[in-house]
Each structure stands twice: as structure tokens, then as C-alpha cells.
């Protein structure tokens, strides 16, 4: 058989369409984020006259970042596949309440952790059933579960607080450090790296991007779409439970409003981290950087003694800006 001429030679052009390579694209979005984070750190450090570097400030910053970044891993997968979950704030409340109640009953800490994770996973499972099996719109389903879990929290707490949280959690997540970095943040980085690895190297991880990229083609090719979606929502639930435990470490108190508004922080982190709302694109490392950035801004607001109410405005504005930039990027690259 005559060997086929090499395509590039016989066709006479390069396989890669040069017009799609713009200068911007050659610098990765995560690198830009890293630069921005560094810049913001510098600004805040200078502006706060060095208070930024105090041990207490750094610790609380890193723990806050950890709390936001862990669920952001799951949220990244959900949004890449074109979904969303606004119920995680209430899930934090739910899992924290369950943990608190178990602690009140003096359960051993290992068991409490397991119970908490299970609760989070089940909340994710319920969402997944409505969204992936019954094919209901994710925003509607999670709006509903958001309020349901909040009501469950209230019913379980009966208007009381739980403050009998053992200091072990605080020790684990806040006080104990690897050099100056709280273990919660180390755990976060480890989880992010594991997730990044699995999303890159495992079939199910690649399926996440395939489904987000072209769901129709995915079904035609026989990819297990439902299973992947279940995995994403259930993971998100379990990761939210971890964040809840970290929150308990930071402030050992469970009340009816625990976790309220948390979903915004996580969604902001994911969107700012470069995940496209339209699906198919986004990395967990970007989301980690996004979480760091959003918490940096929060921290800056406190350090500069700006009113905390600015947080909502700034976060909302950052989301809009991030989405606009992401849209511009996509449309720019699409021009032939």
C-alpha cells in the first residue's frame, strides 16, 4: 500500500488555524489571576500599614479562602456542565447543625465527621435526582432545596444555638499550622490538586468537560451523562460539608442563619476563577485563585475599615465584570 503523503505536505497548510491564536490566549487565564492576586496582596499590605501580615489576619484569611475554595471544586464541575447550585449556603447550615447535634450527644469526632459528610452527600443526591433524572431546571430546583434545608435547620435547632462544639475542630483547621499555613488551607490545596488531577486524567473527569462542551454529542457517543451529573452534585454536597466543619472550627457556633449567603461567595469564586457560565470551560485551580481573590477583597474591606456592606456590592460587581470578560474572550476567539 502506498503510504499516504503527510497531510500537511499534500494539503499545504498547517492543521492549526493560526487566526484562532490571538496574543491574549497564549497567556493562561490562571496566570493572569495569579498576577492580580499578587497585586491585590501588595495593595492591601501597603494600605493596611503591614497589618495584613499579622498572624491573626493571615490565618483568618487563609481559613476563609479554604472554606470558600473547597465547595468551589464541586461548583466548578457543576457550572462547567451547565448547571448551578444556589442551595449550598443552606447545606452548610444543615451539615453544621447535624454536626452540632451529634456533638451535643457526645458522639466521637470521627463519627461526626462521617455523618456530616454523608448529610452533605445526600443533599447533593437529592438535587441530582431532580436535575439529572427528572431533568428539572437546576436554578429552580436548588432555589427550592435552599429554602427547604433552611427550614429543616430551623426546625432542628428549635430557635436555639449550639455552642458545644469541641475545640478539636478549631485545632485541626485553624490553630494547627504547617509553618504559618493553617491545615485547613493545606487540605484545600491538596483537595484542589487531587481534583485537578482527576479532572485531567480520569475518564469521568474528561466526561465532565465533554458534557459541558457538547451534551448532545456526549449522549450520541454513549457517555454516562446522568452518572457524571450525579457525581458532580453529590461531590459538591460532600465538599460543602467539609466547608461547614471548617466554619465550625473558625467559629464554634451553629445558629439558624449559619451559611446564609455562602453560595454567592462560592459562585463568585468559580466565575472569577475563569469558569464559563456557558459551560465547557473552567479549572479548579482557577476557582482556588478566585476564592483567594474574593476573600482577599473581603479582608481588605475589613482592614481598610470600609463598611462590611460593601462586600455584596463589590462581589456582585466582580461577578459581572468576570462574566463580561469571559464573554468577550469567547467571542473574540470565535471571529474567523
Amino acid at each position: 500500500m502506498k503510504p499516504l503523503a503527510v497531510a500537511t505536505q499534500s494539503i499545504g497548510n498547517q492543521p492549526i488555524d493560526q487566526s484562532l491564536q490571538t496574543g491574549k490566549r497564549s497567556v493562561r487565564y490562571e496566570t493572569i489571576l495569579l498576577v492580580i492576586v499578587a497585586l491585590v496582596v501588595v495593595i492591601i499590605a501597603i494600605g493596611s500599614h503591614g497589618n495584613f501580615w499579622s498572624s491573626s489576619n493571615l490565618t483568618s484569611l487563609l481559613v476563609d479562602a479554604a472554606i470558600t475554595a473547597v465547595p468551589a471544586i464541586g461548583m466548578t464541575m457543576v457550572i462547567v456542565m451547565g448547571g448551578i447550585d444556589v442551595s449550598i449556603g443552606s447545606v452548610v447550615g444543615l451539615t453544621a447543625t447535624v454536626a452540632g447535634l451529634a456533638f451535643e450527644q457526645n458522639w466521637p469526632i470521627a463519627l461526626v465527621v462521617l455523618l456530616t459528610l454523608a448529610t452533605g452527600a445526600i443533599a447533593g443526591l437529592i438535587n441530582a435526582w431532580f436535575i439529572a433524572s427528572r431533568k428539572l431546571p437546576p436554578i429552580i430546583v436548588t432555589l427550592g432545596t435552599m429554602s427547604i434545608w433552611r427550614a429543616v435547620v430551623y426546625a432542628l435547632l428549635g430557635g436555639n444555638w449550639i455552642s458545644t462544639i469541641p475545640m478539636t475542630l478549631t485545632a485541626w483547621f485553624v490553630l494547627d499550622k504547617l509553618w504559618i499555613i493553617p491545615w485547613s488551607f493545606v487540605l484545600t490545596v491538596v483537595l484542589v490538586l487531587i481534583a485537578a488531577y482527576m479532572l485531567r486524567r480520569r475518564p469521568m473527569g474528561r466526561h465532565v468537560y465533554a458534557i459541558g462542551s457538547n451534551e448532545e454529542a456526549a449522549s450520541v457517543l454513549g457517555l454516562p451523562t446522568k452518572r457524571v451529573k450525579y457525581m458532580a452534585y453529590v461531590s459538591l454536597g460532600a465538599l460543602t460539608a467539609i466547608a461547614a466543619l471548617m466554619t465550625l472550627g473558625q467559629s464554634p457556633l451553629v445558629q439558624a442563619t449559619t451559611g446564609s449567603g455562602f453560595e454567592l461567595d462560592v459562585i463568585a469564586a468559580v466565575v472569577i476563577g475563569g469558569t464559563s457560565i456557558l459551560g465547557g470551560r473552567g479549572t479548579v485551580i482557577g476557582s482556588l485563585l478566585g476564592a483567594i481573590l474574593t476573600q482577599l477583597i473581603s479582608d481588605g474591606v475589613i482592614l481598610f475599615q470600609i463598611q462590611p456592606f460593601w462586600n455584596g456590592v463589590v462581589t456582585g460587581a466582580m461577578i459581572i465584570i468576570a462574566v463580561i470578560m469571559s464573554l468577550l474572550n469567547q467571542r473574540g476567539a470565535a471571529h474567523e
Binding site: L4, A5, N214
Partner: protein
């Protein structure tokens, strides 16, 4: 024994018979071309083989045993692949991932074994002449021609026994086409069964071992390589058209006078890569038939004139005055109307009533002083069209989905007749419509022209174009390739030939 045989397959959609008792034998190691105009049933055939559709009648015989291909996954498992006109890819994934995503190779840790997958891909890449350096690149960065080659690689990695190509060269350059043919030769020599669907007859000469001609859902001819002559195929494809047309020749003996300023005049309209340098004009009372195959760029030209697409360059004149139309709203205000190609996706409001569907273009006109819709006026308008167009319907307030396909199309046309138009562009006006309604609509088009409307009819249905047009233009690959000032039956083959890129026997006017 053939690899896959379809025997007497029939499939109908609503009122139209997409396939009637079509039979085809596909054998390993041979390239089987399927030829036919659009609407002839080719894509229905592919969908049945790929498990997307189920035949109404007939049987499928695989390796000598009767079989049913129930789902797309099943079709893939049986070893069938199809490379579609628009590559079906995951734009955010790399080339390697696109190839292996359904069939990944996993190492003992459960990870993607990139090394092994690379190894599997290398010989296939070599056979296809692809540079393995593109494996880690995001597939959206490749030119379409290379994306297609990657999909072929995907089919080969899946050990496909039957590989189908649906109009593959419509997105390829000349050199890329030559390379594709080398690849197809390689596939044939590797013992694959290849199905090659195309309307470009000159390509078939290069690679086909046999050809089946489909017209109106029927197999009208089958030739072996030895008898493969373009003229012969052309005659087969056009044959029915000539027969159908003969009846209506008398109806348009009067030549239409082309005096005075044309109603619509288009000069050098260009929107790369969809269409280039399109120039033509239409006068009052003319019916300009715009013929060509799918992808020729006709609808895109229409959508540009209608303001939905913006051309890069060119001039459009209405009654001699240059106009810039930037939206369908402006087009309608200027008296240009467009009946879309796909009424389900682009035309019908499925939740609304017949009235609402009909008046969607003229709402402001039917309003009173407070922008209130005068529903009584509306009912009068609807009933007028009901009689004029002979629409079988209940009350104007009935849901549009209670009408047949033909009835719905009539409402679509009435929607445009309600507007004060000077130019009407009808895109595939009788697609998916039963024969009786088809004839009604053709009569309607002719009478509208007689009343002074300038009409452009875009159609891939040759008999229709011949029956209804007073002038014909043919587009191929984005350019106007032929123009005929008078319509006679002898033209059928010429027109068809021009549409598919074959040089005409005689000089076209």
C-alpha cells in the same frame, strides 16, 4: 454476502414519504456513493443506519442476519460511524480526547493511559497523514478539514466497519479534498465499507466503486463503476424533474417583460465564506428561482437581504435607491419579506393560535389607538386568507398545531401576504408538504407574481424550480454559477449540472 443491506426501507414524516421501498447493499472494501438532490432521502437513510430513526417498513440485514439498529450507541457498537458535514466534536477537548472519549484506555490506576492511547493513534494518524503533534492541541484550534480527519481517526480507532461521509467536501479546499480521497482509498483497501454521499458528481468518478441514485425517496438507479458517467447520473437525477415539469410548460409561455427599474437589485454582495460576489436583479412580476444544493449559500444571501445577517460588502438597491437593511424589522418596513426554510424552528409559534401566527408580522397595523389589537379585524383577515388560500382549519383561535404541515405552511405564507411587500423571498416553500398543497402553493406563487410582486423562490427541488420560475439562477459554493433567462424542459440537466459544479454541455445563456 454484503456487510449491511437495507431492503425496501420506507419512512414517512407527517405527510411526506421520505423513503419509499429503498434498497441498498453495502459491502466491505467498496466505496458506495449515494447521489441525489436534497429531500431525496439521503439524510433519512443515514439516520436509519446510525440508529437515530427507525424505518416504518422494510428490513435491515447485517452480516446476513436480520437486525434492528435501535439507538445511536447500538449503531456505534455495531461498527458504524458517520462523519457529518458539520464535525460533531467537543470543542473544549484536545484532539486525543475527542478521539478516545467514548472508548478511553485506562491504566491500572484508573487514569487515562495517554501513552497507550497515543500508541494506538499513531499508526492511524500515519495512515491518514496526520501529524501526531496535534494530539494534545484543543480541537477547536484545528481547521475544519483537519477536524474531519480527526473524526475519521476516531471512527478507525473504534474499529468501525462502515464509515459514512455526508457531503464531506463542502467544507474542504481542493487540496484537502484530494487528501481526503487518498484517505478513502486507504479505507477501501483496509476492507472498510465506505458510503460517500455527495452531489458533486465529478468527485464520484475519482473514488466510487458504485453509485445509487435517490430521487424523491426512491432508488431510481444503480450503476457500477464501469457505467459511472456523470451524464448518465445526471439524466437519472433529472429524469423525474423533466417528466414532472412537462405538464406545466404551457402555463408560462408568456415571457415576462423586464422593463424599467428592477424592484430589487443586488451588486457584489459578499459574506465570506458563505457567499461571494453575488449580483442579480428582480423585476416586478418575475419569479426568480434560486437553485442549488444545501450549503450553496442561497439562504444566507436571503438572510442578508432580510437584514438578519450583515454582508461584508456589496450594494442592495430597492427601486434604484440604495438601502442599508440592518434588521428584519427594517427589511419588512422596506417591503421585503422572508419565508424561512425550517418552519418548525424559524417560523411557527407552537403555543399560539392560528391568528397569532398569521399576524406576527403586522401587529402594529392591526392595532387601535391604545396599541390594542383589534381582534375582530384580525378574524376578518384570517378568514380572508382562509378562503383565498383554501386553508383547512377550524376557528382562527384554534392552536396552530391543530393544522397539518401544509396548512401551517399556508399560514406562514399568509403571514407574509398580509404585509405590503414588494419583494418576497420564499425559502423552500413546499418542503415537507403533500403534493396537492404543493400544487396550490405553486399556483399561488404564480398569481402573486401576476399581481406585481417580485418573488425569489429558493428551492432544492428541481421540478418545483422549473414549474414556478420565470428565470432561474444557480448557486454553487457561494457563487452564482449559471443564469437562465428562459425556462424550458431541456434545461433540467444543465441546471442540475451547474448546481453540482459540472461544466454544461452547451453554453448557458
Amino acid at each position: 454476502m454484503s456487510l449491511l443491506a437495507l431492503q425496501n426501507i420506507s419512512k414517512a414524516f407527517g405527510g411526506t414519504q421520505a423513503l419509499s421501498s429503498a434498497s441498498i447493499d453495502l459491502n466491505a472494501g467498496r466505496v458506495h456513493a449515494i447521489v441525489g438532490e436534497n429531500g431525496a432521502g439521503k439524510s433519512t437513510l443515514i439516520k436509519i443506519i446510525m440508529g437515530v430513526l427507525q424505518p416504518d417498513a422494510g428490513q435491515i440485514v447485517l452480516d446476513g442476519k436480520v437486525a434492528a439498529i435501535t439507538t445511536p450507541s447500538e449503531a456505534r457498537r455495531l461498527g458504524f460511524s458517520c462523519v457529518y458535514q458539520e464535525p460533531l466534536i467537543f470543542p473544549h477537548l484536545s484532539v486525543l480526547e475527542n478521539i478516545f472519549i467514548g472508548h478511553p484506555v485506562i491504566d491500572r490506576f484508573g487514569n487515562f493511559d495517554t501513552a497507550v492511547m497515543r500508541e494506538k493513534a499513531l499508526p492511524i494518524f500515519r495512515s491518514l497523514g496526520l501529524d501526531p503533534d496535534i494530539l494534545p492541541v484543543s480541537i477547536s484550534k484545528l481547521r475544519l478539514g483537519y477536524q474531519q480527519l480527526v473524526l475519521i481517526a476516531q471512527a478507525l480507532v473504534y474499529d468501525s466497519r462502515l464509515i459514512m461521509f455526508d457531503e464531506p467536501t463542502s467544507i474542504l479546499s481542493g487540496a484537502e479534498t484530494d487528501h481526503l480521497f487518498d484517505v478513502i482509498t486507504f479505507l477501501r483497501q483496509s476492507g472498510k465499507a465506505v458510503v460517500y454521499i455527495s452531489h458533486r458528481l465529478e468527485e464520484l468518478l475519482a473514488i466510487a466503486d458504485e453509485a445509487t441514485v435517490l430521487t424523491d425517496g426512491r432508488v431510481v438507479g444503480h450503476t457500477d463503476r464501469s457505467e459511472l458517467e456523470p451524464e448518465r447520473l445526471l439524466a437519472l437525477m433529472a429524469g423525474k424533474a423533466t417528466r414532472d415539469y412537462a405538464g406545466s410548460a404551457e402555463q408560462r409561455k408568456q415571457a415576462v417583460q423586464h422593463e424599467g427599474t428592477p424592484v430589487l437589485s443586488v451588486e457584489h454582495l459578499t459574506l465570506d465564506p458563505l457567499f461571494r460576489n453575488v449580483s442579480f436583479s428582480v423585476h416586478q412580476g418575475e419569479v426568480l428561482g434560486l437553485y442549488g444544493q444545501v450549503g450553496a449559500g442561497r439562504s444566507e444571501v436571503a438572510l442578508s437581504l432580510f437584514g438578519y445577517l450583515r454582508p461584508k460588502s456589496g450594494t442592495v438597491r430597492l427601486r434604484g435607491q440604495e438601502v442599508r437593511i440592518r434588521s428584519p424589522r427594517q427589511a419588512i418596513a422596506q417591503g421585503i419579506g422572508y419565508l424561512p426554510e425550517d418552519r418548525k424552528l424559524q417560523g411557527i409559534f407552537s403555543f399560539q393560535s392560528i391568528s397569532s401566527n398569521l399576524i406576527s408580522t403586522v401587529l402594529p397595523r392591526l392595532a387601535g389607538p391604545f396599541a390594542n389589537i383589534r381582534w375582530r379585524e384580525v378574524a376578518k383577515v384570517v378568514n380572508r386568507f382562509r378562503t383565498d388560500l383554501n386553508i383547512k382549519m377550524g376557528a382562527p383561535g384554534d392552536p396552530i398545531i391543530s393544522l397539518s404541515g401544509g396548512g401551517q405552511q399556508k399560514v406562514m405564507i399568509a403571514r407574509w401576504m398580509a404585509v405590503n411587500l414588494s419583494v418576497a423571498i420564499l425559502d423552500e416553500p413546499t418542503r415537507g408538504i403533500d403534493v396537492v398543497t404543493k400544487r396550490d402553493l405553486h399556483d399561488l406563487i404564480r398569481s402573486l407574481a401576476e399581481q406585481g410582486l417580485a418573488i425569489i423562490v429558493i428551492s432544492s427541488d428541481l421540478p418545483e424550480v422549473l414549474a414556478v420560475s420565470t428565470r432561474i439562477m444557480v448557486m454553487n459554493r457561494g457563487s452564482i454559477v449559471a443564469s437562465y433567462e428562459e425556462v424550458t424542459d431541456a434545461l433540467a440537466e444543465d441546471i442540475l449540472g451547474a448546481a453540482i459544479g459540472m461544466p454544461a454541455e452547451e453554453e448557458a445563456q
